[in-house]
Symmetry: C2
Subunit: 400 residues, 2 copies
């Protein structure tokens, strides 16, 4: 098989860890695989470089930041290749440029435009293990760029896509994707497989295993992604297209999002254009509105509720008050959003009803509901968040 492996900052956090990664890479090579290994900077290195820049200014020139920040991954890639060569496995280190990663020109948050795999393929053809510095590329004019948060994952997925690799393994310090946060529900189970869309919902809902950008790219490029731990040999979680998952669970996981605040407008005149004007104004100010609920009115007025990230609430308040007309405004910081995710719910009725009764059994009042094809989200009082997660986890038998 042709496998792209990616090791994150804690996985290469010390020289001893880099040697352990080398052993792991070699094990896969000895199993007959061809390997491209993408590495992050040693943990702490990137933050150190950011602190260096901040000694001079909080707003450093972005092109220079990219030259600065790309140094950490280069160091790790060189060290891992040196370790592999020493252990008798011919290996070549490549910067993002040498790996052919061509991006747009948005310094510090560039997007990959395409990958010229010439050098990687040549090295693979010569039997070499290719070690690529993650998180970085170059513009077509040759300026160094970096890819922003989660950038090394993106490098790995993009390379796997360009090479049509059989697998892209993302090694981190967690075992994979769980049915819910094990700190909330100790009976949470690791999932063997999950679809791209489920993973996208779970990630945006607070499962921090992978950035959405990487999952979206994997979906687009049809890359089979495995997330697993570099600290043990446990099988991870395969993230793949829905068709590859034979037995669909109705519900795959429960997510808890504590970073939500609610804004309610009471007595909104029930006529076209009101909601549009409010949400356009919020969008113009880059406020990320999440759930929106409007009930049919009874007396020509209605209540409009929506949620925003907690750290954007103050700004949203200001905008709402500027915009003011006759509606009564209410704010509530003391809520959480609990979500049930599963592609199986498309073909099963009664999934939502089961959630509602599970919460009712615990006397938890549901204040807002929104549903999509593969997700049911509910806003409840913050103090019930963990209890709701446990109740739902049990109701859908995710611990079995």
């Amino acid at each position: 098989m042709l496998i792209v492996q990616k090791y994150g900052g804690t996985s290469v956090g010390t020289l001893e860890r880099i040697r352990a990664v080398a052993d792991r890479v070699i094990e896969s090579k000895q199993n007959g695989n061809d390997l491209v290994v993408v590495v992050s900077a040693m943990s702490g290195e990137t933050n150190k470089l950011i602190e260096y820049a901040e000694f001079f200014t909080k707003t450093p020139s972005q092109a220079e930041m990219d030259i600065l920040l790309s140094a950490g991954e280069r160091v790790t890639s060189a060290l891992l290749a040196i370790a592999l060569n020493e252990l008798g496995f011919p290996s070549v280190a490549m910067s993002g440029r040498q790996a052919g990663i061509i991006t747009d020109g948005f310094h510090t948050k560039a997007r990959i435009n395409h990958i010229d795999t010439t050098f990687i393929k040549e090295a693979l053809d010569n039997g070499k293990i290719v070690v690529v510095a993650g998180f970085q590329g170059v513009t077509k004019e040759g300026r160094v760029t970096t890819l922003g948060r989660g950038g090394s994952d993106l490098s790995a997925v993009a390379i796997a896509g360009a090479l049509e690799a059989d697998l892209c393994e993302i090694f981190t310090d967690v075992d994979g994707v769980y049915t819910t946060d094990p700190r909330i529900e100790p009976k949470a189970k690791k999932l063997d497989k999950i679809s791209y869309d489920e993973m996208l919902e779970l990630a945006s809902l607070g499962a921090k295993v992978l950035q959405n950008r990487s999952v979206e790219l994997a979906k687009k490029l049809n890359v089979n992604l495995i997330t697993r731990s570099s600290f043990n040999k446990n099988e991870g979680t395969l993230i793949t297209k829905e068709e590859n998952i034979m037995e669909q669970a109705i519900v795959s996981g429960i997510a808890l999002d504590k970073n939500q605040a609610r804004i309610t407008l009471r007595g909104v005149v029930d006529k076209p254009g009101i909601a549009a004007s409010i949400f356009k104004k919020l969008a113009d100010n880059n406020i990320n509105v999440d759930m929106i609920i409007q009930n049919v009115g009874v007396d020509g007025t209605t209540n409009l509720g929506f949620t925003v990230p907690q750290n954007e609430l103050e700004f949203a308040k200001k905008i709402m008050e500027e915009l003011q007309s006759s509606e009564k405004l209410e704010y509530d910081n003391d809520i959480v959003k609990v979500s049930i995710v599963g592609v199986g719910m498309k073909s099963h009725s009664g999934v939502a009803a089961m959630a509602f009764s599970a919460l009712a059994n615990e006397n938890i009042n549901i204040e807002m509901i929104s549903t999509s094809e593969i997700k049911i989200s509910m806003v409840i009082q913050a103090k019930y968040g963990e209890l709701a997660v446990r109740a739902l986890h049990k109701a859908y038998r995710l611990d079995k």
Copy 2:
């Protein structure tokens, strides 16, 4: 003027020092100069990276070492450019590749083949200060290379040559080139000017200001080189072609080389080919033979003496003994070489005589002598080294 400045590791050893360098660069810019600034890695960084590699092996793969080692200079170049931009002086950081430094493929000790100044000139034309990561380049195939010890000086000189810059200022932690080592002779004077050839002799004889490779390149490219301190505003020493130095001193400096050992063969049969076979064998084994003295024999045999670096003596002994015939071998580790350097001695007689009598006055026996157009070297007993330097310094009135 178009000036290339180069700041070494101690000059950029801390973030505070980098800010001081920024101030110094700006001062020169404000004086109306166009500036290309070449920087080394922050002091200690390169050694740290070497230690990282040595954790895995004493013989790391060289191409990977170059990716590893080039990281330090990139960091410094980005930080200095960030500092300059923040202070309101538009600046752009460039890696060796972006600066167009094309080298051969000898990893970790590459030689610069040529410099494509397109990007540097474009940035200068736009009024920018160009900050270049020293010590590094790329092969024409695009592999990262480094230039070996003193590599950042080489980068600066090569760029100055390619741009036909008016001046190349090398900033270090010493004030310039001295008539002799001030730790031996406190009356040593800083030289205002010195010719390339004199500098070459002084450097190879132990004046550690500049590597010979850089001086040779400056001579070849006709670059006016100034070596000066980044820690004060003192004028440095200009290293330039002989014609630019109006008043030639007869003697410019006295150098002491403690890293010498002597091998003497007594009773060498005085016929052609004997010396040739010995020195060919030594050369084949990469032993650096320095002085060679053979006297005319009296009875058909002669004595042959030569010096080698102390750390190569044991190896040289081994070779000499393998080669053995009838000669008697003697070894002496307890010697030093003291040298007098000056282009003026070409046109002045009696320079050597003055040296011999100065040492005779101190009862110092001269054991070997060798001379070139601009240098007189003498081997003496080690214990007299410092005394000889002081005596010669005084004899040639270098303290005046």
